[in-house]
Amino acid sequence: MKYIVILIIVLILVALGRALIAMLRGGADNSEKMFKSLATRVALSIFLFLLVMFAGYMGWIEPNTNLPIR
């Protein structure tokens, strides 16, 4: 599960990076490309959020915020 989450984060970073490169290059084509990459990253982010919440609900992953007993 952990690795799936990390993989999606990497994909989000790739989409964000593509948008950055398109923005750096400028021009009409790249403006379009930037917009599409950003939309992709929003969709992936929402999917990741829902996935993490679902995995937490199902008990596949545990939150870090349970204070260890010491």
Partner: protein, 295 residues
Amino acid sequence: MSSKDSYYVPHGTYWPIIGSIGIATMFVGMANMFHGVSWGGSVTALGLGIVLFMMFGWLGQVVNESVNGLYNSQVDRSFRWGMSWFIFSEVMFFAAFFGALFYAREFAIPWLSGEGNNQYTPDLWNGFVQTWPEIAFKTPAAELRNGTALSVPTELIDTWGLPALNTAILLLSGVTLTFAHHALRAGERNKIIGWLVATIALGVAFLGFQIAEYGHAYDIGLKLNSGIYGSTFFMLTGFHGFHVTVGALMLIVILYRVQKGHFSKENHFGFEGVAWYWHFVDVVWLGLFVFVYWI
């Protein structure tokens, strides 16, 4: 301005020296404030005021020159490069704090508890045993409670509460910003304004909840000095919150410029730069939510 094709050489300007004076004033004020000098705070505020005055004046001048058509494609490229280097510095900034979190969690704490070739290390630290979140060393000092060397919290912030809500809010702001971006590319100004206002409102809501969360954290004793977890938690979330604040201010400026009709369907780099910045801050939070709270 001689020709559209030649590089636009700016006229002489006094803004850089005003900026330098502002930053220097701020540092002198801050250094004295940390040493408890009575006038430290007011000099810091004065310095900050000068810096804000400089930003307002300088950026306003750039906007005016842009609106008056003084810039050619070469200047446009230089703005894009400038934004890219700024973003690069931001990426490295957050990479350092995420790096600190990963390093402490995956290397430093296991080593302290005897992993690898560090078999005897725990003996140096009263039988240190690794845990995550690592709040405090299991030493007599760690037994001290609030108000002393280390603040040991009684509980931690519930992942399912405000953090999850704030993630949803920030992700939603990414959606509304995408709608604004789409409206801009379609040339529908009223829609851009509506979606931008929604984005800013969501950003402000996020900040409000974040302040509430910090209040809760302090109530339960989770502070900057609550071990490596407390330190990295507040460094990451604190600087992220600061970036949301800056991003929201930038969006407000963009909203003003949209109302003034500064952007066209084809030419709106100011919007693109700020939009990308907001998406970046959004992704940083998502990474923070996943790595600090979940895995």
